[in-house]
């Protein structure tokens, strides 16, 4: 396989020069990627690297990346992971109570580790496997959906993932199939001496009337830097219900950039919750497309950052048809000199009459140096719609703190109690109880551990 563009003219733009190492690397490894030789996939990957090499990493001059600077990411030389480290199963996070077996796939540095997986018994009509394996065993399924879910071609990060995609989760449910237990995908990034990159690709196809819960864990081991650039594509067909939850607890030096595109059919239900706590820089971009009427889409999350962490939540909800409901509830706690970004866009197209949209972002600033940039955006082209948004940023309430302390609760515990109460309110949006409880435990652990302040 050869690359289409060399982009090595003497007048190389800064954007293009940031893409050059990726272009070079792609040329070296493309032929060895899983599924190489499948014409449709070769073409997809070439388009990906072509688009990325023209754009390079997004800069803050791009509106969608105004508040998140990828300069440090672009400057770091990442290589594909080579070693296969040993990992104890007990280190892998789960939301499933002990004793019960989850449907669990484990990826280390972006590649499936069969020795750590436990897929368990699945009902007929359900496929759960790694993407590399699916390219081999279910090529038609993958070809039908991979890169086809979103109505647009996507930005540079999606293109970069497509260029390098090698493995990830594939879950496909035939019409009417329901999974009782959650599917868990654990992505482990190893922060070794040499920074590595991985581009996991998740594909979920929920057939008509099917239902499943998917929980993604993104965790880091080791102290070094790595770059996880995740893309998730989800198809939720008519009447299907997909509960999609994620904990982002990457290593302290990790870069986590994640893009979700989802296409929702009629009378479908999609609910997404992301708990953001790890990483040096993270971006969680969600782009659901509501393409069937009577559908409900709920996006929510909690972010807790400290030190010099940067956490970006960007949502674009696209209402294309009538009578759909979307609801967004995000709450975040920002300590030290950390910075959080919330960009929430709701598009209501001319046909999308009777749209009901609600958006809320509330941030709690625990220090003078903490920062939140909140940008709600409504783009409404229909006249009979109900859309509201709200954003607040504040500090802990002195009256509440004094009240708790006057009852004997020390200052640090009082603060933690109030912060937990603030965050746990967002967790109420999670509809699956076991997941809600597991996430709440992580919030309490984070508070109990005491956070680095700067």
């Amino acid at each position: 396989m050869t690359t289409t563009s060399t982009a090595q003219s003497s007048a190389q733009s800064p954007a293009q020069s940031s893409a050059q190492p990726y272009l070079d690397q792609h040329g070296r490894i493309a032929d060895d990627l899983p599924g190489a030789g499948l014409p449709w996939l070769d073409r997809l990957r070439l388009e990906g690297i072509g688009r990325f090499s023209r754009s390079g990493f997004p800069t803050t001059r791009t509106e969608a990346w105004k508040y998140t600077n990828l300069r440090d990411l672009a400057r770091t030389a990442f290589v594909p992971a080579a070693t296969k480290p040993t990992i104890g199963l007990d280190l892998l996070p789960t939301v499933v109570p002990s004793g019960e077996s989850p449907h669990r796939l484990v990826f280390v540095d972006g590649r499936l580790r069969a020795d750590l997986c436990s897929v368990g018994d699945l009902p007929p009509g359900a496929i759960l496997t790694g993407l590399a394996a699916a390219l081999d065993r279910h090529p038609d399924l993958v070809a039908t959906h991979l890169g086809q879910v979103s109505p647009d071609e996507g930005g540079p990060m999606r293109a970069l993932n497509t260029a390098f995609l090698a493995d990830g989760l594939v879950l496909a449910l035939d019409p009417g199939v329901r999974l009782e237990r959650p599917v868990e995908a654990v992505f482990v990034g190893i922060g070794a001496e040499q920074p590595t990159m991985h581009h996991p690709r998740v594909l979920i196809v929920a057939g008509r009337g099917s239902e499943a819960t998917v929980v993604e864990h993104h965790v880091g081991l080791g102290t070094g830097a790595y770059f996880s650039n995740v893309v998730t594509e989800a198809v939720v067909e008519d009447g299907a219900r997909l509960h999609h939850y994620k904990i982002q607890a990457e290593g302290a030096e990790a870069f986590h950039v994640s893009t979700l595109v989802a296409r929702l059919g009629a009378e479908a239900s999609y609910d997404n919750f992301v708990l953001t706590m790890g990483g040096r820089l993270s971006r969680n971009e969600l782009r659901p497309f509501l393409g069937g009427s009577g559908t409900e889409c709920r996006l929510s999350g909690a972010y807790m950052v400290s030190g010099t962490q940067h956490a970006d939540t960007t949502t674009v909800i696209d209402h294309a048809v009538p009578r759909c409901t979307s609801r967004e509830v995000y709450k975040g706690v920002i300590d030290g000199a950390a910075r959080a970004v919330f960009q929430g866009k709701i598009i209501v197209r001319p046909d999308a009459q009777k749209t009901d949209g609600y958006q809320l972002n509330r941030a709690l600033l625990l220090s003078d140096a903490a920062e939140i940039d909140s940008k709600p955006e409504l783009e409404i082209y229909a006249d009979d719609v109900k859309c509201s948004h709200g954003a607040t940023a504040g500090e802990l309430d002195d009256d509440q703190l004094f009240y708790l302390r006057a009852r004997g609760i020390d200052a640090a515990s009082a603060r933690n109690l109030l912060v937990a109460a603030f965050l746990l309110e967002a967790l109420d949006e999670i509809r699956v109880e076991t997941v809600r409880d597991a996430f709440a435990d992580r919030v309490r652990d984070w508070l109990a551990a005491g956070r680095p302040t700067v």
Binding site: Q400, F402, Y403, R407, L418
Partner: protein, 250 residues
């Protein structure tokens, strides 16, 4: 139990307390009455340790210790309890969690074993019943959506569960109708005992019909202007606070 000497305090640089002298021995209930703006609430906040209330002169000794040198939570651990005039709403924290966290913090401070969930539930249920409160209130967020009467009753419930040595009641009667007042007063009276002292701050004599004090002090112009028995409250009810040089606002 509580000994206050020549206490001066400012709020935003403005002198409010100008030399308060007061002694409340164990087993006694004292009332502080006075016109609006006399410094009644300031005194309660200074004793509870609220930020923004600066003591510029004088001392307050509580059970032999320097009260003013302690953090609010240390004062609570030492046995000081302030029943708030305006109890604070805390969304997302249930009354149950709040009470349990507070009680176990106090027990820890006193070197006692923390109560487990079952022991705590038993205790709090008994106290709730004694105060004629519904258990449903325990599951609700602290004071959120509570009526004025419920909030005050919730303060008394906390007092009963936390079992303080000293109860400081700041305008506990404000906003209560006569039935709620009676319930709250019954709850307070049930806590009277030889090892406990109380300081009841109020503008009106009405509360003192139900919580009968051993002594009544008039706080005016930032000082204790007069001290007497319970009959002093009746006299003030009749004559008002005019003789203490303060404009009667109410």
């Amino acid at each position: 139990m509580l000994e206050i000497k020549n206490l001066h305090a400012t709020v935003d640089g403005k002198p409010i307390l100008k030399g308060v002298d007061l002694i409340v021995p164990a087993g006694e209930v004292h009332a502080i009455m006075g016109p609006n703006g006399a410094g009644k609430s300031t005194l309660s906040y200074v004793l509870a340790g609220r930020e923004g209330y600066e003591v510029t002169e004088g001392t307050a000794t509580f059970r032999g210790r320097d009260l003013l040198a302690m953090e609010p939570e240390e004062r609570a651990a030492a046995g000081m309890f302030l029943a708030f005039q305006y109890p604070v709403e805390i969304p997302g924290v249930t009354n149950m969690t709040f009470l349990k966290t507070a009680l176990n913090a106090l027990r820890k401070g006193r070197g006692e074993k923390e109560l487990d969930a079952m022991q705590f539930l038993k205790l709090v249920r008994a106290k709730t019943k004694e105060l004629g409160m519904s258990e449903e209130m325990l599951k609700r967020a602290v004071n959120v959506g509570f009526s004025g009467g419920e909030k005050k009753r919730n303060e008394v419930l906390q007092m009963a569960v936390l079992d303080p040595a000293f109860c400081l009641l700041d305008e506990t009667d404000s906003g209560l109708d006569i039935d709620a007042l009676r319930i709250v007063a019954d709850g307070v009276n049930a806590l009277r005992g030889p090892d406990r002292a109380m300081l009841v701050i109020t503008h009106y004599q009405r509360l003192l019909d139900y919580i009968v004090p051993d002594k009544v002090h008039v706080l005016a112009g930032g000082r204790i202007a007069r001290t007497g028995g319970k009959e002093l409250a009746l006299e003030l009810e009749e004559k008002g606070y005019a003789e203490f040089g303060a404009a009667e606002a109410a």
